[in-house]
């Protein structure tokens, strides 16, 4: 009797009702990640090397399926701490696609086998889960959980290529700097909680804008302002917004390239997504305060990123700095705080994905083929010998530079339009200036591929420019293969999956550049879901 009563009592204080169908993507990702981890423990090598990636892809595909099916249903789950709307779903799709690409690119990566296939892929899936939680979060605590769940696996993944000093260095650097960012963030969140007395976004928003009892709200509250400033810093670390970008080039360069690709696209999307969520929803009332700050940050970021990229000799570092610059463009969309600005930012995030993945896929392919493959000179003469790699890279560079006929152009157009309409014309001019500077290095990459004769490569004896040890990128198999003669034009076939990823995403970059309407309406949908809260 008493036992039953007891059980009933426990039953009564059960947690809030949970809408499992809406939560399905999260559940799928968690189960998939655990399953992958377990399968990775199997003794059979086939199980480890084949089944684990396959399972990861299946997990992500199922998650995508669930996400696609639940479009246009806005639900708040777990007593409003998570909100599944079109914005979250679109960003989840971005994460999942980036993760699939990363899995495919990782199939022959040394990092995957050294860290253990199960662990590697499971961490990747957990990171995706963290991102999904982060962009759905409607609550400061959930937000921080997502933030950490996204970051911690990435620290490990960066260092997964454990026999390479650069990879370890990258992981450690990311860990240290990322932790500082997290600490700053949690401090900021705590202050916001202290100022507003709530951890949910909507009450925070109400508290800031004030009500009939207390008009004006907390706009001049120093506690809140400090909190917002610290939160900005925390997010800025993750989104690699200058001046908090210092880790980016080093980490991008050192991490295994598939992970870099994943970080460059998914992490950036998550960070900008949370910027959108947090600033255009929770603290939108204080826009007058944070908008100038963010606008300044965006300006600095655009300048620093683009100027920094000019002097780089490693393609990965160029892309890292370019990523910093691009983060500045996206941040500009957040600053405007209008419907158009939100749409433009979402669109930009989505378009950023295919071209960046394509570019990193090409680097992966080159790294497998020769030592120091991430160096820009490794691209020399690629146009003549491996057009299947050169074209995606060309498209990626043109798109990042914002040349018509590519998605990047439409994205920039949208952003500039939003900025002009939102009376931030000066920020639009900054974007244009940034694009002009960026031509300097994007075109240099293209010029190297098409206009310079390839240099004969002397296998791994070559020391890459920049004084780094010549251990980058050469997996044992690739080194063996490289010992043979100068690659024949069809060398890309040795990495068909990598070339396929590059071509596919490159083609997407052009396709949506010419027919952007589907993506535009998608972005508009997602944007509308955000303003529903105002």
């Amino acid at each position: 009797m008493t036992v039953l009563h007891h059980i009933a009592a426990v039953g009564h204080i059960k947690g809030p009702p949970i809408d499992w169908s809406a939560l399905a993507p999260f559940v799928v990702l968690t189960i998939g990640a655990l399953l992958v981890l377990l399968v990775g423990l199997l003794a059979s090598q086939i199980a480890r090397e084949r089944m684990v990636p396959a399972l990861s892809v299946i997990t992500l595909a199922v998650a995508i399926g669930y996400e696609a099916s639940s479009f246009h249903h806005q639900t708040s789950i777990i007593s409003g701490s998570l909100r599944i709307d079109d914005l979250a779903l679109i960003l989840d799709l971005v994460f999942a696609v980036a993760a699939i690409a990363a899995v495919i690119l990782s199939t022959r990566e040394p990092g995957a086998s050294q860290a253990g296939h199960g662990e590697y892929h499971s961490l990747l899936l957990f990171s995706v889960l963290g991102m999904a939680v982060l962009v759905s979060a409607q609550n400061l605590v959930t937000l921080f959980i997502g933030f950490e769940l996204l970051s911690i696996p990435l620290y490990i993944l960066c260092a997964s290529d454990a026999r390479r000093a650069a990879s370890l260095e990258s992981g450690l650097k990311y860990l240290v700097i990322g932790s500082v960012g997290s600490a700053t963030l949690v401090y900021g969140l705590a202050l916001i909680y202290g100022a507003t007395g709530s951890t949910d976004f909507v009450p925070i928003s109400n508290a800031i804008t004030g009500n009939s009892v207390q008009p004006g709200g907390l706009l001049s509250d120093p506690l809140l302002m400090t909190g917002i400033a610290l939160t900005i810093v925390g997010f800025a670390f993750k989104a690699s917004v200058a001046p908090f970008h210092q880790w980016t080039p080093d980490v991008y360069e050192g991490a295994p390239t598939p992970i870099t690709a994943f970080m460059a696209t998914a992490t950036k999307a998550a960070a900008i997504g949370v910027f959108l969520r947090f600033f255009d929803v929770a603290v939108i009332g204080a826009q007058g305060t944070w908008a100038p700050l963010l606008a300044t940050l965006a300006t600095i970021t655009i300048v620093v990123g683009n100027v920094g990229a000019l002097g780089q000799s490693s393609t990965k570092r160029i892309l890292a700095y370019s990523g910093v610059g691009q983060a500045g463009y996206m941040l500009a969309g957040v600053v405007v705080g209008t419907q158009l600005g939100i749409n433009a930012t979402i669109f930009y995030i989505v378009t950023y994905l295919p071209v960046n993945i394509a570019a990193f896929a090409v680097i992966v392919a080159r790294q497998r083929q020769r030592a120091g493959g991430e160096d820009i000179s490794a691209l020399a003469g690629l146009g003549a010998r491996q057009p299947w790699l050169a074209w995606p890279m060309t498209i990626a560079m043109l798109s990042l530079a914002g040349i018509p006929g590519t998605v990047g152009f439409i994205g920039k157009l949208y952003l500039i339009r939003a900025l002009v309409a939102g009376s931030y014309t000066w920020l639009a001019v900054v974007i244009v200036l940034g694009s002009m500077i960026s031509l300097g290095y994007y075109l240099r990459v293209i010029a190297t591929m098409w206009m310079r004769a390839p240099e004969r490569e002397s296998a791994s004896a070559r020391v890459p420019v920049g004084g780094r040890p010549a251990i980058a990128g050469g997996s044992p198999e690739a080194d063996e293969a490289d010992a043979s003669d100068w690659p024949a034009p069809d060398r890309a076939v040795s990495n068909p999956e990598v070339a396929a990823v590059a071509v596919l995403f490159g083609a997407a970059g052009v396709f949506f550049g010419i027919i952007p309407s589907p993506l535009l309406s998608l972005a508009a949908h997602a944007g509308r879901s955000i303003t529903g809260i105002f």
Binding site: G383, A384, L398, I403, P404, G405, F409, I410, K412, L413, Y414, I416, R417, V420, A421, T425, A428, V429, V432, S435, M436, L439, G440, L443, R444, I446, A447, W450, M451, R452, P516, S517, L520, S521, A524
Partner: protein
Amino acid sequence: LIIGLAASALPPALMGRATAIASLAPLGIAISFLARFKTGHAGLQFVTDHSWISAFGIHYKIGLDGLNVSLVVLTTVLFTASMAWAATREWERPRLFYLFLSIAQSAVLGAFCAQDLFLFVAFFDLMLIPFYFLIGMWGTGDRVRATMKVVIYTLVGSFFMLVAAIATAVLASNAYGTNLTFVLSTLQHLQLSHTSQDWIFLCFAVAFVVKMPLVPFHGWLADGYRSMPIPAVAVFSGVLSKVAAYGFLKIVLPLFPYASVHYQTLMLVIAVVSIIWATSLAFTTTSARLVVAYSSVAQLAFIVLGIFSLRPQGGQGALLQMLNHGLVTAPLFFIVAALAVRCGGSEDIREMGGLAFRAPVLAALFLIVVFANLAIPGSSNFTGEFMILLGVFKAKMAFSIIAFLGVIGAAVYSLRVYIRTMHNTVGPKAQSREISWRDGLAIVPLVVVIVVLAFYPQFGLKRSEQSLKATMAPAELQEGLSPAAVLAVTGSGRP
């Protein structure tokens, strides 16, 4: 419609590789173009209008009117000539070469036909990309540096134009409370405030002036022209620079009439300075190719002069001159290439000389083109320059007098090149050889067109008359009003 046809020129160029077949398909299409255009007269025709990106009100609207019909013909003729010239030669990676040339052709045609501001901007940028590759992959000399210089110069201009275009549409829709649209004919009715017109005008002007190029944005010219492969430089100078001039006529004058009047003097000064600068450089340079390049700068400056006379005569002359200049400059570049072959690959006129002795046909062709270039009375260029100067004379007399120096200068430097190469003492490595069929294939038809136009300049004039008057009308109106308007503005307190 037209883009579809131009795009269908792509696959044959792809498959045909280095064979002459590659150029025959575009040639056939060009002829069919010509046949179609015969029916064209003033007013917008052959309009294709689809909503492209509805979210931004961007339409895929192309069509022909009196302004662009002759330029479209010019484009196809010159590209066909270039491809014919290229087809008789060996190129590395021919497939890509023709692909890029075809993309360039599509983009240029697109820019000419675009009736949507955004479409124009997109094509304007797009046409640069194939040239980036053409120079970088098949150029000569310090090509990579030249490529960067050309592309960065022009793209910087293009970005200005992009912002200006977006600002035009957004400001117009804000001011009049209409939906966002980029369609030119609609925008024309939504005039912007004077201050916004001012800066938007300057952005467009920078983009166009860089492309032409005029002083002070000419930094890329010498490097770029020196490095380009001949077919590319022929179409670049013959057609691409015209897109910029056309942009002034088609977009700037109707959309920003106030600013056009406001900056008329500035543009005229730039044009005149460019004429003098280019002419004097053409005197001093010894590279035959650069003489042609500088002469084309001077010609383009004349065209700008004509446009910014803001008189229908000037505009007519400018349009005719665009046609003439394209037809003249392309064969000039081909002939320079032919001369260079005869002189051991050098384009330095000091090493040429005496080439006419055993090559009377080449010499005669060269002479005709040179005469056309210096606008000898009887040539179509004479008509063009005359009309331009007439227009400017009516608007601002002083400028036309200075500009006239350019005409004299043109005679001197053109004849100087001709004499130094064709007559004079025989150069050290020069071998007099008759023109080969390969060169002739490209040069002769162009020369024939020049001669025909000389007798019948109305070809271009008749069709464009009405459209041009329509284009110039708002600016003329502004100018006519300006004394009163200035009074009104000063009376009401200028901001």
